[in-house]
């Protein structure tokens, strides 16, 4: 009999034996109803328990899936960023390649006329020297002419032509022209060096030569803003892609010049430290606020007006230096200036083949 029913009978009737025979079936049915209700309640409680356990489990599973989804999304974002960088680098190297080709072509075309102007100038100087010697001889013979008549005519012509001045100046003019031609030749050579016919070739190169030719190429950007101080150390030859490193130097120099408002100094230092060579470009410009330091290497990050900066310079520089197994450091004091330092390993473990494709 159901314990509750038993207790109820004890309390109200005193004893189960007090139940009249006729009511046994009734009490039996009541007891069964109690038991059925109990079983029912247990079933519902059990099912409820089961269900909450199951729902908790499903909830956990959903959360796990969510985390997983977020993780793959982050991975995708990183992948997209890497793709974007690769794309930008490709764009830039294409741009540089065509600029290089153009420069090499122009240099080649200019070289020819420069060559014969130069050699003509040399001949011209020789002729002029000889002609002046002849003229001197004539002048020495001048007193032999009778007074008046012809002698007067010669003196008048010499005065009119300012012959003394002319004699001095014609030589100076020729010297200046030779200088000019020499400069044009150097610029052409720099252009050739900068664009480097090496395109993509790993070679042993003199970084100082690269720095010098780059400085010449960007001279126009810099000269009204800054005095350039070169403090070169002793550098061994470095195995590198010279034209690409020149791009890095050019961007650092142009950035430095842009950072200077009126007049300043750009200092280019080089040196060796341990197994690394380093090249520093320091300026006395506006500096970079601390908060932006982490962003300047991002592609398309620029504080410059449209048309002046694309924001690609440093991200590409970063990529190039990275390819050489090196790294770029930056120190800046807002208001006082900035130092960019390019570190390159002397014995790089870079897979050079990677760049031949």
């Amino acid at each position: 009999m159901h314990p509750l029913l038993e207790r109820q009978i004890r309390r109200h009737l005193g004893d189960a034996t007090a139940i009249p025979e006729a009511m046994h079936a009734l009490f039996q049915a009541i007891g069964e109803a109690y038991e059925h209700a109990d079983a029912d309640r247990r079933l519902v409680e059990h099912a409820l328990d089961q269900m909450s356990r199951e729902l908790t489990e499903r909830n956990r599973e959903l959360q796990r899936q969510l985390v997983e989804k977020q993780r793959t999304e982050a991975e995708q974002a990183a992948l997209i960023k890497r793709l974007e960088e690769a794309h930008n680098q490709l764009l830039q190297s294409e741009k540089m390649a065509s600029i290089g080709q153009l420069a090499a072509g122009v240099a080649h075309e200019i070289n020819n006329p420069i060559g014969y102007v130069n050699s003509n100038l040399a001949s011209l100087r020789d002729y002029v020297r000889q002609m002046l010697a002849v003229l001197d001889a004539y002048e020495r013979a001048e007193p032999l002419l009778p007074d008046g008549g012809e002698r007067e005519d010669v003196l008048a012509a010499k005065r009119a032509a300012e012959l003394d001045y002319l004699k001095a100046d014609v030589v100076a003019l020729l010297d200046e022209s030779s200088d000019g031609i020499a400069r044009v030749r150097r610029i052409v050579q720099d252009l050739k060096d900068f664009s480097h016919a090496d395109r993509g070739e790993w070679v042993l190169a003199d970084l100082h030569k690269g720095l010098d030719s780059t400085l010449n190429v960007v001279n126009n950007e810099i000269k009204y803003k800054a005095r350039v101080e070169k403090l070169y150390g002793d550098l061994p030859m470095v195995r590198c892609l010279p034209s690409q490193l020149n791009q890095v130097f050019m961007n650092l120099l142009v950035n430095a010049a842009h950072a200077i408002d009126k007049q300043g100094v750009i200092t280019v230092r080089t040196g060796v430290e341990g197994d690394d060579v380093w090249v520093e470009v320091a300026d006395t410009g506006c500096g970079i606020p601390e908060a932006l330091l982490t962003r300047i290497f991002d592609p398309f990050f620029t504080t410059k007006p449209v048309g002046k900066g694309t924001g690609l310079g440093l991200s590409i520089s970063y990529g190039i230096v990275h390819k050489h197994g090196g790294h770029i450091e930056v120190k800046s004091e807002p208001g006082r200036g900035t130092v960019f330092r390019v570190n390159l390993p002397l014995h790089s473990s870079v897979d050079e083949d990677a760049d031949h494709e």
Binding site: R42, Q50, M51, L55
Partner: protein, 376 residues
């Protein structure tokens, strides 16, 4: 239309003498072991002109009472309505559709007003059977009935089609004429609970996996101590099936058998892969309300005529849940239909009826399904 009812009890025999001896039809519902050829022959002697139509049950309904281990006979003499009985063996579940078609083809079509169907409740796919029947019946002829039962044992079910009881078969009773009025209603009263589960492995009416896990294991977890009473206890948690996004149009499916060997569960109707299943549980008040609601639907379908006979086919699961309170649902039906309507019927392993008077006929589970009859 005249009706009289009598009951056969072990040890007692028939409780009333036969008066309506020229009755044309006797509906006979009883415990599986009681429906012997002798008892049926005796019944036929009492009503020599009657067709016997019925089957084994998980409980008999007589008036507002519900009985176990008895036989209830309801004798009917129609004034004008003609009857035709047909039957068809169903050797296994795969034959269900063909059996339905063949059975319907046996019924003369002329003047056919309504078809009552009784089928053995195990080894049959009720969905397929109903589809087969519908495909071969004339347009506009409705179909009601159910799957016969075997207490809470799920071992042996029988149908009677004017002959000895048959273990694997389906029987149909055609009602012919213009004066017969029929209404029907069908309501459940179970509440879905817990998560939607995707049916990931099934074949016909055999279910293997929900959400990729054994369905049988899931049932055992939920049943706890009641797992020992499988398959009957699985009726406490029928499944509501629906297609994705159509949770409102859910069909209820009840368990008929479990198979430990291949970890499967056999349901009374299809459990198609790709649909969603949600467990349901009983709500006492809504079960009783559901029965009255079904009665209201059936009455509504009869328009002006007052039902003289109501055939109640109610799911065994309701009886397991309501237990001693089971008569409340029958009383609910009587309250709606009135004292004059004679109530007869049985507790079944599945119900066949259009869900509402205008909907398509389907196999249902866990419902109270009512067919009301009267003759003008």
């Amino acid at each position: 239309m005249q009706i009289e009812q009598t009951q056969w009890l072990p040890g007692t025999g028939w409780t009333k003498p036969a008066v309506l001896t020229d009755a044309g039809l006797v509906l006979v519902f009883g415990g599986t072991d009681l429906l012997t050829e002798d008892v049926l022959a005796d019944l036929q002697r009492r009503y020599p002109r009657a067709l016997l139509f019925g089957g084994s049950t998980a409980g008999e309904i007589l008036g507002a009472g519900v009985y176990d281990d008895s036989i209830v006979a309801t004798a009917i003499r129609f004034a004008d309505t003609r009857l035709h009985i047909a039957s068809q063996p169903v050797p296994d579940a795969a034959a269900s559709h063909a059996a339905g078609q063949a059975l319907a083809a046996r019924l003369p079509r002329e003047d056919l007003a309504h078809v009552l169907v009784l089928t053995t409740g195990l080894d049959v796919n009720g969905t397929e059977l109903v589809d087969g029947l519908k495909s071969a019946l004339p347009e506009g002829v409705d179909l009601t009935g159910g799957l016969t039962g075997d207490g809470a044992r799920f071992q042996r079910t029988l149908v009677i089609a004017d002959g000895p009881p048959v273990e694997h078969g389906v029987a149909a009773l055609g009602l012919y004429g213009s004066r017969i009025r029929i209404g029907h209603g069908c309501l459940g009263g179970w509440d879905p609970f817990g998560p939607d589960r995707l049916i990931t492995r099934s074949r016909g009416n055999v279910l293997y996996e929900l959400d990729g896990h054994s369905a049988l294991d899931l049932y055992k977890q939920y049943l706890g101590e009641h797992a020992a009473q499988l398959p009957a206890s699985a009726l406490l948690f029928p499944l509501a099936l629906h297609r994705e996004g159509e949770a409102d149009a859910a069909l209820v499916r009840a368990v008929l058998a479990v198979n430990e060997a291949d970890q499967s569960m056999t349901f009374a109707g299809d459990v198609p892969e790709g649909q969603y299943a949600r467990m349901m549980r009983a709500n006492f008040d809504r079960l009783v309300e559901g029965a009255s609601g079904a009665a209201r639907q059936a009455r509504f379908g009869m328009a002006e005529s007052r039902p003289q006979l109501a055939l109640l086919i109610s799911c065994v699961a309701r009886k397991l849940v309501l237990a001693q309170r089971i008569e409340e649902e029958v009383e609910g039906v009587r309250d709606v239909l009135g004292e004059e309507t004679v109530l007869a019927g049985f507790y079944s392993y599945g119900e066949i009826s259009p869900y509402t008077p205008t909907a398509r006929c389907e196999l249902h589970n866990q419902t109270m399904t009512i067919t009301t009859l009267s003759e003008d």
